[in-house]
Symmetry: C2
Subunit: 432 residues, 2 copies
């Protein structure tokens, strides 16, 4: 397939929320208490909500930035691409990257919206709903066919969460961002009947449970003084814990239509994982009493899980061991793992190198994600205008560079020190 | 290659320590205080040391047992194969399994011998030395050429640990069992200069640092109520954390000859892992300041790490992405992941299915582990008597079955309840 003929849907990108996002959607009585974006003297913008300050970690918005300027120091909105937070600019960046459509995860509230869980449940629910209405109606609504809408959960209450899933489903939303491990956040685990109302709402509305890497709130690092490379290396690999926890769980047995996406989870580890779960079943099910009705765990995985990758040679080579119907593609804009704006080139080189036939390319690049997320962009964008080539032609002249940082340049040594301080602060309350 | 012509060295098996192991090696003044094996009324044998009771978890000694009898309840020595704890019987079992030689990890003291770390450092050191003398002189010494000797570390003191490495090296020992994460055990991490004397002793004596899965003392389970299958699935996958932590560490840079074995770590995850570390380096080294002198992290991995597998189709298929010189084989006797006594059949089927040529079979089955552990069994056992076929011919008539459990049969529901209780007890002090 010619690179320009690919149709790309990315199932994992990120929004850096804009300051005015609560304006139109939060009841007036809560307006003064809503999280707000604050501009600091050093040029950084941070979200403040009650006692919590959430910096916009620069690695999360590096699209267009030279590697030499990577780091963890907070950025200002004026230092990142406007496509991070402005939907009109996002569409231009998507066009320049040849991307037809995109599923956008939240940033400052956390993947499961846990920031909004306060002692005032009415206020908390209002925040979740406001976020969802802004995301679905304003952000996704501005460009029909260009975004797969996704709701934030009501993470502290399964009944309210189910209701929010149903409310959003009526607006055409079929994705829920969630945590890869509610137990790690202090809520009942996936194995607890607590969540039954949620599972039922998800299958009733054909909504996908999206568990993004890093959404457990647990830092998976071996030691406080492990170099940052260790954490970066391990980030996508830790999703294997969520995959195992969900695959062996009761919900996938009780709700045969339950759909789960391992967001930003990569694919190269899955063939080994599937061997391991089948062998575990073969050796131990006599005493663990696992029963999949005559099926193997690997069958169950393929019935329930959608995987995705950015650029993953091993996963593409072993795609038939994973299941070609279970693999989707993602761009991860504007994070540092993203290949934007050259994502189509990187992907096409890989698919060509691995001799992936056209029908499998179509499944991986868009058909699987369309089916999984009940999403049909071609209702709004004709196919001939949806290709990499057509989208890029429409965006000719769009500048894909980034402004140099306006605040003081940080030396690598200082970036490392900042990383170390952040890890120590994050682990201080859990240190054994 | 014919199955009977394979020469098998297993780099990961386990000893269930016999009750008289301290008899000949501990100074008399400590004899009364040594750990002792106690026979309980219910038929189980447990090790007792001060306030600690360590049951012989039955899953750790199931060789020969039908799967229906698997479980976590403690066993008595009279319920497990004598080959678990009696070296003469072990050799017979090795012969029946076609195994030339074996590296044996400890059981009740923990992989890093942490049980022996008391407030009385002289006593603790005496225990470590006694264990090592028993293991090296009695167990391995009884059958030259049949065991790769391995020492327990002095986990609480790097200088003493270095001295113990040197003392054992003089007796021909080139393996040290260690923890995959000293920080998780409360000691300085791999990144701390604390361990420098140990690194130096290891490279001076060409001794391999063996980090076995599960040796961090951390339970890697998503939730307390995750089914046991989750933990069983994840066990080999968690070694990826140690691999990342060591690969990005200073010791592999400062000690170019440092050799590390990822014991029972499997291989199928490694091609994906190597892609990930190279990409991490490519994208982030400008600010993380990683520098491997012009090499890539995957090069460093192949210089420093030996991997192993029991039966791992993905790893064998992708052996050239891992490095054929970096893969060894293991049997895991007498644990539940072991294929004994049919390990040669399982391995040979896999190697045949994946069309592995003879020279690569030899590397994987014995040449890599001989080189890595400075071990030459052929000084003692002529090659023609070292093959699967020759060893089995010599053991004809050896009974490979197991006695039925002598204590009350445990229903699966009760095994699950026991598992749940164990997990709750193990996590009680770390629950957040």
């Amino acid at each position: 397939m010619d690179k320009n003929d690919m149709i790309l849907i990315s199932v994992d990108d990120h929004i850096i929320e804009p300051p005015d996002m609560f304006k139109n959607h939060l009841p007036a009585k809560y307006a003064a208490d809503a999280p707000r974006l604050v501009h600091l003297d050093d040029g950084a913008d941070v979200w403040k909500f009650r006692d919590t300050v959430i910096p916009n970690v620069a690695l999360n918005a590096v699209a267009g930035r030279p590697k030499e300027e990577y780091g963890l120091e907070p950025d200002g909105l004026d230092e990142i691409r406007p496509g991070c937070y402005d939907v009109d600019e996002r569409i231009k960046d998507m066009n320049a990257g040849g991307i037809l459509a995109s599923l956008n995860f939240p940033s400052f509230p956390g993947f499961a919206g846990r920031l909004f869980a306060t002692e005032d449940q009415d206020f908390s629910l209002a925040l979740v709903r406001a976020y969802n209405d802004w995301h679905v109606d304003e952000w996704c609504g501005a460009y029909p066919g260009r975004f797969i809408p996704m709701a934030l959960p009501v993470i502290w209450d399964a009944e309210l969460c189910a209701a929010e899933v149903r409310r959003n489903a009526e607006k055409g939303v079929h994705a829920l961002t969630f945590t890869e491990n509610p137990a790690a956040l202090g809520y009942p685990s996936f194995h607890d009947p607590f969540w039954n109302p949620l599972w039922k709402a998800l299958v009733d509305t054909d909504t996908v449970l999206c568990v993004h890497i890093g959404s457990s709130g647990r830092l998976s690092i071996p030691a406080v003084d492990s170099p940052p490379d260790v954490m970066i290396t391990l980030q996508p690999l830790n999703i294997v814990q969520a995959a195992a926890d969900l695959l062996w769980s009761r919900p996938v047995k009780d709700y045969p239509d339950l759909k789960i996406a391992l967001s930003e989870g990569g694919t190269g580890w899955i063939p080994y994982f599937l061997e391991r779960v089948d062998r575990t079943f073969e050796m131990h099910s006599t005493w663990t009493l696992q029963d999949f009705g005559g099926k193997k765990p690997s069958d169950i995985f393929r019935e329930h899980f959608l995987t995705c990758f950015i650029s993953d040679p091993v996963g593409v080579r072993l795609r038939h061991d994973i299941g070609v119907d279970n693999i989707s593609w993602e761009m991860d804009y504007p994070h540092s793992d993203s290949m934007w704006p050259d994502a189509p080139e990187v992907l096409h080189d890989l698919l060509t190198r691995e001799n992936v036939p056209d029908d499998e390319i179509d499944k991986i690049t868009h058909l699987n994600s369309m089916r999984w997320y009940s999403f049909d962009p071609f209702q709004h964008v004709p196919k001939e205008k949806a290709t990499v080539g057509a989208l890029r032609a429409a965006s000719a002249g769009h500048d894909v560079s980034i402004k140099a940082r306006s605040h003081k340049h940080t030396a690598a040594e200082d970036k490392l020190a900042a990383f170390s301080a952040q890890i120590k602060a994050a682990t201080a309350h859990t240190a054994s």
